[in-house]
Symmetry: C2
Subunit: 254 residues, 2 copies
DNA sequence: GGCATCATGATTGCATGCACTATTGGTCAT
DNA sequence: ATGACCAATAGTGCATGCAATCATGATGCC
């Protein structure tokens, strides 16, 4: 399906004995936060396998992983699809994220090494530079800022969870937020770094809370029209005028 | 290796189109909290598959899942083993767990339905009844109490995470806590229920925090002799007296 | 024309087979 | 006796094949 010659297999994942399933996971996660993949998009095992140059077994393994992270919905005998979170799930996920990231800044306040500070500054700079560019890059960088912070704690479990909820929140944004509504958070990132350097853990935690609450609010409260991507709700307004129009909507994506 | 005839396959998982990998996961999780499986125990794919009556593929899938939950260590080309958490990981996991379960009681305070209350009371009663019985049952019931609470919030993501950290904490207890050191928490469970019924969310959160902190403290601070299960540290005291004794320690479990 | 029924293709569920890697016990030289 | 080297074995990594299940378009009936 994807452009690959019959002779030369699509050696996208070729490499050495790396983690092939993990590579697929990373790619899909990234595609989701960048909104290249949107909720409901189908992820057939063999298409994935072919695209990444591996067999269905590996693609399946990757999908299982993503399913356990809540990024894809996995139902028996059904094609895997990018998860379509509900409004309640979105709210809950942000609540959890806030508490987790409060732990992050609490652990980090006053303990940042100079090279870490430089790395964070550079990241924020990259975020600022990307403001004019594609929205996908902005969102990805914003997500990666939080992941970067978590990694700096050195706490592997906390890092893993922050990773998960961050990507999940990216999915939420994709599901609910209107285009161009999740920008302008770059300065808040800077403020958090400042508070961390100052060692003011209380302030850093407060800043992180409000920052995430802002993101959630912008994403979740804005755009009541698009609150739900449930098919029935989406089509409700159209159903009103569908009396005389023979336009037959196609359900599948491609 | 496990006793199964060559002719009659071990139809432990026979059933209909259920979730075979999930069944294996549940079994192993439970075995871990009940300390039937201890950190470092080996989990070979084919042994698992044979035991549960499925192929390696499924066993492998289950192991991948457990690996992503942090219950087993998965290294390339190596036999999967029950994870051996470090002291720091244990502390971090408890920190995360406290915040998550605070969210649980916050969501539940004053919102428990009568049947839910009855269910909780019954569970605590079962815990009390199990105090004389096997330690494994006590630990499992204690863990399940927290999981039950989380499920009652109706928040699927929160439930999933509480599930994960609870089982992980069970593993931590298995790794660090001495036998019979994690009992006597039943009354604290009752107090939490009371606070939830009273609708005093602040008090409930405080009780939950201290309850979990107690558990962590009992598990992590007690028994400095067994703080680390690293092979070198474990053998350190023995190395002193190993001068004249020909006792050759076997490294592998079975 | 609208609706239920069925057949075909698409897709997953799972087991098995082969290749490769790590481990383990033995062997040989020192 | 001790240490390094090597062969046999156990175990994983991965692809492929077959059966089962679901989705979708075609057909026939009303």
């Amino acid at each position: 399906m994807a452009g690959s010659t019959a002779t030369g297999k699509t050696r996208t994942l070729g490499g050495a004995g790396e983690d092939k399933a993990g590579t697929i996971c990373r790619a899909i996660r990234r595609a989701i936060v960048e909104r290249a993949l949107r909720p409901g998009d189908r992820l057939p095992e063999d298409a994935l396998g072919e695209r990444f140059g591996v067999s269905r077994t590996i693609a399946r393994h990757a999908l299982g992983q993503l399913g356990s992270e809540g990024l894809v919905d996995l139902r028996r005998n059904r094609i895997a699809v990018v998860a379509t979170p509900s409004m309640e799930e979105a709210r809950d996920t942000f609540d959890i994220r806030i508490e987790l990231e409060r732990l992050v800044v609490k652990a980090l306040a006053g303990r940042l090494e100079p090279d870490q500070i430089a790395q964070l500054r550079a990241h924020v700079e990259a975020e600022q530079a990307a403001r004019g560019g594609s929205e996908a890059t902005s969102i990805r960088l914003a997500t990666e800022f939080h992941v970067l912070l978590a990694e700096m704690t050195g706490k592997s479990i906390l890092t893993r969870y922050v990773n998960e909820v961050s990507y999940r929140c990216g999915l939420m944004l994709s599901a609910f937020s209107r285009p161009h509504s999740s920008e302008c958070a770059v300065s808040e990132h800077s403020e958090i770094i400042d508070a961390l350097i100052a060692g003011d853990s209380e302030n850093a935690m407060r800043l992180m809370s409000t920052h995430l609450e802002d993101v959630a609010e912008r994403a979740l409260l804005v755009a009541p029209e698009a609150r739900s991507r449930d098919l029935m709700d989406i089509l409700a307004p159209y159903a009103e005028e569908a009396a005389g129009s023979p336009a037959r909507p196609r359900r599948t994506k491609r």
